[in-house]
Amino acid sequence: MSIIKCDNISMSYDGVTVFDNLSFDVKSGDYLCIVGENGSGKSTLMKGLLGLKQVRDGRIIYSDGLKRNEIGYLPQQTGAQKDFPASVYEVVISGRLNKRGLKPFYSSADKESARLNMERLGIGQLKNKCYKELSGGQQQRVLLARALCATSKLLILDEPVTGLDPIAASEMYDIISKLNKENGITVIMVSHDIVAAVDHADHILHLSNKEVFFGTTGDYTHSELGSRFLYHNCHCEGCERHSRYHHDSSHIHKYTNRAEVERGE
């Protein structure tokens, strides 16, 4: 059963079309990675999925009982947050606000959920620490805990490892995979780390200015677009063909040869 279905959507950014007629669907429990070069429309698509930006054409259908207030979102950090005085607990529990409607104060269920999600991400002991004094990896965990407070169904992550050191980044990927596999949370992640995306996700949406790939990770690694960005040792017929095409450097050899000829060697 699809949780999100995009039906021939087109979106534009400042009046310029970034993609046209894009269709794909995400099923409950999927781990989808949206990859692509800068300017290929990854962020615009994500804003569309989150309802922060209107689609120009087509429809985005939320189904499977998914409501707007059941989406958890891990945004990229803004400059204002770098010096924002707030405790870890205050940030995490603010994820529960979308469940509160107009009611002014947090209930004990909200507090319990905040506590559980902090424990789940291993930041329980940081509860009263100041957010801005944490390391980048810890800050991302805090924001992820907040996103989990907002949802138990769908997480949308915007470049979750940007700015993290390799160890923190791989920990972050492990946490996300665990949430997906063990807790059955659907994950949609925007990333430009294609290698890590292929390692962790089960579906790939590759946006490019000319072509689009959507399918399982397995299909992606053997596709034309995928093989252009991935170095791997697959020797199936398709990959060999793509690889010959991409690594065709005969024109370079020709050039050096001519230089040799001119020098009379």
Partner: protein
């Protein structure tokens, strides 16, 4: 001690405290959000718009608060829109609106009644300027601001910390931005009679920045800046009475002293820690 009682026996001093303390409290609460959202200049712009409205109201012999409250609220919404739209640069738009409104106010005030003492009262504030009906309305407005702030506390935090997240997860962040703008507009209109157009924004910005020197959580910053704001306000009024200095400016000076004191404390704490 006797002098203190004598000071409190003047009805204009009583009014100044009754109007000023709730305003100082409101300004401090909202100031934290405005400073963190990088909207501090909006407070400044609004006070100039308020000045224009007050000048027009007095030129036409209308009750000043009844004119300036709606005008400043509309201006607050406009400024918020301007700073959100990417096409016009927010800070220059604010500068345009505030200097424009100030110019209108100055021209209208001088052409209308030619009273320059009045003008100076508006610009730099005066504790004598508050009438009894003004005082009552001011207190009511402050109570409304305080109540709404407490009611929306969680949401104001969320919208201040991360607007994108709030919006994406289904919190109506636009509406809460409007709430912040509305409350700011009310606070500024009420406070500018005492503090003056040119100085009211300090009441919003200083306590927040001062408490952020030391406090590390949002709740502590909110509480600390309310306390700092009220203490500075009272200390400012009392010292302006005894030193015979202008009230608004004295309050700003006390706030500045407090800011330096807190900065020094935070520096010491860092060196020790």
């Amino acid at each position: 001690m006797n002098e203190l009682f004598e000071m409190l026996s003047f009805s204009f001093m009583q009014r100044a405290f009754i109007v000023g303390i709730p305003v100082a409290l409101c300004a401090a609460l909202l100031g934290v959000s405005l400073v963190l959202k990088r909207y501090a200049m909006i407070g400044d712009g609004l006070s100039h718009v308020g000045f224009g409205a007050l000048a027009i109201a007095s030129a036409f012999n209308l009750a000043p608060l009844w004119v300036s409250v709606p005008v400043v609220i509309i201006a607050a919404f406009l400024l918020l829109r301007l700073s959100e739209s990417s096409r016009i640069k927010g800070d220059s738009a604010i500068a345009l609106i505030s200097s424009g409104a100030l110019a209108i106010g100055v021209v209208v005030a001088t052409v209308g009644n030619g009273m320059n003492t009045d003008l100076s009262n508006y610009l730099f504030g005066s504790i004598l300027a508050t009438s009894e009906s003004d005082a009552i309305m001011s207190v009511c407005l402050s109570v409304v601001v305080l109540a709404l702030f407490i009611f929306f506390y969680g949401k104001i935090f969320a919208v201040t910390f991360d607007e994108g997240f709030s919006k994406a997860t289904g919190v109506n962040s636009g509406a809460y931005n409007m709430v912040i703008a509305l409350l700011t507009a009310l606070t500024i209109v009420v406070g500018m009679r005492i503090m003056g157009t040119l100085l009211i924004s300090s009441l919003i910005i200083f306590p927040a920045l001062t408490s952020m020197r030391i406090c590390r959580t949002y709740k502590k910053v909110i509480i600390c800046s309310s306390v700092v704001s009220v203490v500075c306000f009272v200390a400012g009024i009392v010292s302006s009475y005894f030193l015979e200095t202008p009230t608004g400016a004295t309050i700003v000076l006390v706030n500045m002293l407090m800011f330096f004191a807190f900065s020094a404390l935070s520096y010491l704490a860092k060196r020790r820690g």
